[in-house]
Subunit: 333 residues, 2 copies
């Protein structure tokens, strides 16, 4: 195929290759002639051949999680967007169980495709453990995970997010804040628990027991039913918006008013958050930014010193979005 172009342009195939890869040392006029031929034949270099010869394809492999949860999905989209903008394709392998074998299998599969780099979405503890023992052999970045030695990682600063939520609530006069956590084997769930606990401790408050959820609205509802029965609960920090949604439902059903009786804060700022009843105060994560920094880090490894503006700090700062689900602590009877 490249030969057709070469023939039409009256040059060797190698010269065509040079033009396609913006090699210098091609005369301007020749370059134009070649480009014209490319245009005319509607030529697209075969990605497989190119990858084979270069020993590296133009794609970045993403190991992802077989889920529709908002966070992972948004992160994935962020990575895809960022990759697209810097000229990389992405090849996704969604894994059902993020354990040792599943992850190794996924990585193998991607390496067999000669991906240039790897993005590993490792939000659960088993995945982190698996990544630790993995001989990757390809530049890789870990997302939404704990530190894995040797591998750069990018994530939203969950502790900071939790702190925003807690401090907001304490600032409103609540004596303490309850917490409905995410699925316990998720790193983010743990970090939010940590952040919540630390913030309470820093303010000298007693932390109530953690209530364990699983990210679902269902678990938020269940927790809400429990908490509604207690008179001493005035503020709850939910580990994500879906859970908050379920909790709002439980409270309404049981006649607990939000925010008059209990304040609720979520996490994520899903697009619907502003339209719940009441509109949800929540911690916003910028997943696009995560994707961008992730690719920044990866490019640093792939093409050292090429792109100008570097990766930026690997921890993305969340922000608090105050809406109507939080209010002053009720006056004690």
């Amino acid at each position: 195929m490249i030969k057709d172009v070469a023939r039409l342009a009256g040059v060797s195939h190698q010269t065509v290759s040079r033009v396609l890869n913006n090699h210098d040392s091609v005369r301007q006029e020749t370059r134009e002639r070649v480009l014209r031929a490319v245009e005319q034949l509607h030529f697209r270099p075969n990605a497989l051949a190119r990858g084979l010869a270069r020993r590296r394809s133009g794609a970045i492999g993403v190991v992802s999680f077989d889920t529709l949860l908002y966070g992972p999905a948004a992160t994935l989209l962020g990575v895809e967007r960022a990759a697209r903008r810097v000229g990389y394709g992405i090849s996704i392998v969604a894994v059902e169980r993020l354990d040792r074998d599943g992850l190794a299998e996924a990585v193998d599969q991607l390496v067999a495709q000669s991906v240039a780099g790897l993005v590993i979405l490792a939000p659960v503890t088993t995945a982190v453990a698996a990544v630790r023992g993995l001989p990757v052999g390809v530049p890789a970045v870990v997302l939404e995970s704990d530190q894995v030695d040797g591998l750069p990682s990018v994530s939203v600063d969950q502790r900071a997010g939790a702190r925003l939520a807690v401090e907001h609530l304490l600032g409103l006069g609540h004596r303490t804040v309850w917490h409905l956590s995410g699925q316990p084997d998720w790193i983010e769930a743990r970090s939010r628990i940590d952040g919540w606990r630390q913030s309470l401790a820093a303010a000298g408050r007693v932390a109530p027991p953690v209530i364990s959820g699983d990210w679902s609205a269902q678990s938020g509802y269940a927790a809400g039913c429990e908490l509604a029965a207690r008179r001493d609960v005035t503020a709850v920090f939910c580990a994500n918006d879906q859970q908050a949604l379920g909790m709002l439902r439980a409270f309404r059903e049981r006649g607990v008013r939000v925010p008059e009786d209990v304040s609720v804060v979520g996490f994520d700022d899903i697009p619907e958050a502003a339209y719940l009843s009441p509109p949800l105060t929540t911690v916003r994560q910028d997943f696009d930014e995560v994707g961008r920094r992730c690719l920044g880090q990866l490019l640093e490894l792939l093409e050292p010193g090429e792109r100008p503006a570097g990766a930026g700090h690997p921890a993305v700062a969340p922000t608090l979005v105050v809406r109507a689900s939080t209010g002053p602590a009720p006056v004690r009877p």
Copy 2:
């Protein structure tokens, strides 16, 4: 690499290739010897080389839409799952604008990767038009779209879904049903409008004017504000659950009770639907099934007569999930 395996097994590289591709006419004993060597060397055939030689990679290209909307995201996941199960990888290109150029670009890019087949998620009218004029040259299936001549397509039967919603509401005694549509240039939005209108017509009811939304909770809220002002509205069919969510919010804010004053039906059955206030009656779409049938159709084209059970009908039937947001029509004052 394959030569290393060949050497270790004491056979020619071609024999190794035969084993890897389950060719017959390899002695059982030889096969085992080769497999042992493969195991021992932890060998993985290079996907690029294989694809290059075969002129067809082991991946299916998916042209998708740069969005986080539940429907497309769920469909994508469904396709990914189905592909994984039949041993294909998927290569996704998310397009920002699904017009002629964007689509052609995406398809080109995927074809340059020698994808075995193409799945085109073409939910908007411009995309359909673009696909029509596209010289694809690769087996392709169109998803969530209108009929495109020549290309098989798979989608949920939107009209049937709308009918379920409308008939449910009429069955509850409502005289007519209002409709908040999705973004007007989406095929699904139009089909739901059609289905809604047809069902009303079939029952001899007058269809109120369509209210145009854009799938977002925000638009549902806006529409809700409008409708809340009218005394003659007793039933609304929203084109998706997000819109319904926004509408519920608007109604609550304005003191319109659901379902006592107005019944609301959504579409999609997002996981949160059961936990809205009130729990949302909605039309459930089985996106996994869409993915499965899509891949069934595609495999039919890729490997004719190989897989046993065929594709199944290309129209997936939605189901109605009745919850608490719908009820008997209020008695007229």
